[in-house]
């Protein structure tokens, strides 16, 4: 390595050499949540920037297939109160009912707004937005199947993300693209004061001072070996919050989607079952009738995922290894498949060489979505706890989208509710922020000194961790790598903290994680470059995943009941007496505290916890 590179790399961790910017608000993330928020703020007088580690339309919202829920009633009778009921029940009663009411009430208007923005929704014969049935939806509080998911073929996320990006272009939003947010920065009074980012192409560090930061960094299913997420879904924003000394909520709840391509993980949307597809086991039997006699294949995701795992475990799987089941659409009209499900037909064709028009597709549950995340209220304000255990907002910090836990999804999210969540709370947070910013003068914010030590240390570590020379031939060679540690992390998370968990797997997991953490401290990098240094980014992403693995393992181990997506084989029942509460995990000493679930909606009566039957 040349001395020139040495000097250049050390600039990374020298704040004196960082470019400095000032904004009223910085939004981290340009997925559906970040972009909806940015669009709202673009209509205000505030100076706002969006930071994204990939070009906005590459955010993972682009991959959402099936659709977005709203009780438009374009296909069959519907109303927001039924949507609310389904969401509460789907959440296994862990969802906060004030936030759920808020979301379901906003749904119809915000979906029509998306349509006006230009989303190319599929259409009914009457020219209205097309809707399809999805799992866990009902009319009249559980009486019959509803048809609530608004869809643009099976490319709804692509349609929404591109449209929101387009409208942001129109509005003149400022973007920092391919800019990696490293950490939040506080001032010496402890107030959130901005963030430090790395411009990926040049390798330069930048300091963005801001009166408010909105985290919209998406999910983190890269924590698991097979998942439907993108490479970039590493939970960076969540980990920043932990490093800032704030808690994460309900981190034991990860959704395993029933129908990932077996062994590979790509998603085959619930829309496949919504349009009439059936799950079959090794005997050719459509087995969901045994698990959810009323709604069968359209039961809630946690129910269907467990059913598949049980079928396989009890020897009724398909294939040579009997390690998957089949998603069968061959009885459907080919035209329906080609028109309504072209994207997932493509996925099966590309990755398996199978055409679902004439061949059933091997599927198995795959990590898909995190219900937990950064605790917020329904204005998107990040919450922490006072010493007395009272929830209290963190000044200047918001979180929206999959990284946030409002909590509208509780212990299990319904299909079609996340795209809704991201736009509803993206807009709500922006509105709240607009009102708060209007009350204060910028100068109050930009004067105090910043506390930069933690982020400087972190950057310095990853610049110095580069192997200066080839290791001495006499020394034992250390061939550990970021890739190897990540692979091991994903494998143990899947094995010990997957669809089913027990005290034994979780306590083993905690030990393994300690070990992996040690390896991550020691590992060296090989890339000394500044421009597009992927290895350094991956190291910081892996650090982020590691903190979330601890949060998950400790929260899951403590929760000795089964609820929604958290299935403890050793505690198979839901226990409302002890566990109708949210977990809050702090990084310091892996401490856990708890917070009650909100059972009092805004205007209607609350839904009392009941046994969940589908």
């Amino acid at each position: 390595m040349t001395t020139q590179t040495d000097n250049e790399s050390s600039r990374l961790s020298d704040p004196g050499q960082w470019d400095l910017y000032h904004f009223d608000a910085v939004i981290v993330g340009a997925g559906g949540a970040g972009l909806r928020s940015a669009l709202q703020l673009a209509q205000s007088e505030q100076k706002v920037a969006v930071v994204s580690k990939v070009f906005p339309t590459r955010s993972h919202t682009v991959a959402a297939q099936g659709g977005i829920n709203a009780a438009l009633g374009n296909v069959s009778d519907d109303n927001w109160h039924w949507h609310m009921y389904d969401t509460v029940k789907g959440s296994d009663y862990l969802g906060d009912q004030d936030a759920i009411e808020f979301m379901c009430r906003e749904a119809t208007e915000i979906v029509r707004e998306l349509e006006h923005f230009g989303v190319p929704f599929s259409r009914t014969d009457a020219g209205k937005i097309y809707q399809r049935p999805f799992g866990g939806q009902s009319q009249d509080f559980g009486a019959s199947q509803a048809t609530r998911t608004c869809a643009a073929a099976d490319r709804t996320g692509h349609a929404i993300l591109h449209t929101l990006y387009q409208q942001n272009l129109r509005a003149g939003t400022t973007f920092f693209n391919e800019a990696f947010a490293i950490d939040l920065v506080k001032d010496t009074t402890g107030q959130i004061a901005g963030l430090v980012i790395l411009d990926i192409a040049s390798g330069e560090t930048r300091l963005l001072r801001a009166r408010s930061v909105v985290l919209a960094t998406g999910g983190a299913c890269q924590l698991f070996e097979t998942n439907t997420n993108a490479k970039i879904n590493t939970g960076d924003g969540l980990s920043m919050v932990l490093r800032a000394g704030l808690p994460l909520q309900d981190m034991e709840f990860w959704q395993f989607h029933p129908t990932g391509v077996a062994g590979k993980g790509m998603l085959l949307s619930e829309a496949a079952r919504g349009e009439g597809g059936l799950l079959r086991n090794g005997d050719g039997k459509a087995f969901m009738v045994d698990y959810a006699p009323n709604v069968k294949d359209l039961a809630s995701r946690d129910v269907v995922a467990r059913a598949i795992a049980v079928e396989v475990k009890e020897g009724r799987g398909c294939g040579l290894k009997k390690d998957h089941v089949l998603l069968d659409l061959t009885h459907l009209d080919e035209e329906v498949i080609k028109k309504r499900l072209p994207g997932i037909r493509d996925i099966a064709l590309t990755f398996l060489g199978l055409d679902m028009c004439d061949s059933p597709i091997p599927v198995y549950p795959t990590a898909h979505y995190m219900m937990g995340g950064i605790p917020t209220n329904f204005h998107g304000q990040v919450l922490t706890q006072t010493a007395a255990g009272e929830p209290t907002p963190v000044d200047g910090l918001y979180a929206i989208g999959e990284c946030a836990c409002v909590s509208v999804h509780g212990a299990n999210r319904l299909g079609g509710n996340s795209l809704l969540d991201i736009v509803v709370f993206g807009r709500a947070a922006a509105r709240h922020l607009q009102a708060t910013l209007a009350e204060h003068k910028a100068s109050d914010f930009f004067d105090p000194e910043l506390e930069l030590t933690p982020v400087v240390q972190r950057l310095a570590h990853w610049t110095q961790a580069v192997q200066a020379e080839k290791p001495d031939a006499n020394e034992p060679s250390d061939d550990d790598s970021i890739a190897a540690i990540r692979r091991d992390l994903q494998a143990v998370m899947q094995r010990d903290c997957g669809v089913f968990r027990t005290e034994q797997t979780l306590s083993e997991l905690c030990d393994t994680l300690n070990n992996l953490q040690q390896r991550l401290h020691r590992v060296t990098l090989q890339d000394a470059g500044l421009a597009f240094n992927l290895e350094r980014l991956e190291a910081m992403e892996l650090e982020n995943l590691m903190t979330l693995a601890f949060a998950t393992a400790h929260s899951a181990r403590a929760r000795t009941e089964s609820r929604g997506a958290h299935s403890r084989m050793d505690y198979p029942e839901r226990n409302d007496q002890a566990w109708l509460k949210h977990s809050l995990y702090f990084r310091q000493d892996h401490a856990l505290t708890y917070k009650p679930v909100n059972l009092t909606p805004l205007t209607v009566d609350g839904f009392e916890p009941k046994a969940r039957v589908y």
Binding site: T57, E109, G118, I129, Q166, G529
Partner: protein, 238 residues
């Protein structure tokens, strides 16, 4: 299996060069995509640099030139490729490092076609109690253009774009232009066509069709451009 990959690290390399990499035949499974192979090669050499994200052909990150053809590595099966597999950055735009190109000009051309729906006059409020109606037939006209993922495979295989990336909109931007021109909800069709009616912006397209041949999503920008051209003619006659 051998791979010959374009390497360039501006900080340390005076010149780009081709580097040979190798994977054991056993490592290359039948269903392996090129992105999977590249990830294995990165384990041999973590400095090998390329973009990727979704791994399923929807985010548009990983366009690259493979054996002379622009493709997305994540949906290209390795076994369909002739070895040694020659991998270069997509041509025509500046290289940032290895296979990563600077796509700013490509994005600027996209922005230049006003790629957003304008269903109302600027100060008209929108009626959030109703969606804008659109018949299934009207909606169907958007098929084949709204699905674009901005991967740039088309534009960087288009000779007209290579020579004039600052003046010719190029196939992806024009495909987006067409999407809004034909959207029954947009009220600015005439303005759009007028703005596009320009010897460089649109008419630099010489109908060479490389774009259509290289679109990994099976879209047909060249046909969209012809359609725009004929709409412009029609507008002049109107």
């Amino acid at each position: 299996m051998q791979f010959s990959i374009y390497r360039y690290q501006p900080q340390t390399d005076a010149e780009p060069f081709m580097q040979t990499f190798e994977l054991d035949e056993a490592q290359v499974t039948d269903d392996m995509m090129l992105l999977g192979a590249l990830e294995l090669l990165r384990e041999q050499d973590p400095t090998l640099t390329f973009r990727s994200s979704c791994k399923e052909g929807v985010c548009g990150s990983d366009g690259m030139n493979v054996n002379g053809q622009n493709v997305l590595s994540c949906i290209t099966r390795v076994r369909t490729l002739k070895a040694p597999v020659v991998i270069r950055p997509m041509p025509g735009l500046p290289v940032i490092r290895d296979l990563v190109i600077d796509m700013d000009l490509f994005y600027q051309q996209y922005e230049a076609v006003d790629p957003y729906l304008q269903p109302t006059q600027p100060n008209q409020t929108i009626d959030l109690d109703h969606e804008l109606l659109q018949s299934p037939e009207e909606r169907e006209r958007l098929d084949g253009s709204y699905e674009c993922i901005l991967c740039g495979c088309c534009a960087t295989s288009c000779p007209s774009f290579w020579w004039n990336p600052d003046q010719f909109h190029g196939p992806a931007a024009l495909l987006a232009a067409r999407r809004f021109v034909v959207d029954s909800r947009d009220i600015t069709t005439r303005d759009r066509l007028e703005k596009l009616d320009d010897v460089y912006k649109t008419f630099r397209c010489r109908n060479i069709q490389n774009c259509t041949a290289s679109c990994p999503k099976g879209l047909n920008p060249s046909q969209a451009i012809n359609e725009l051209k004929s709409l412009m003619l029609k507008k002049q006659v109107d």
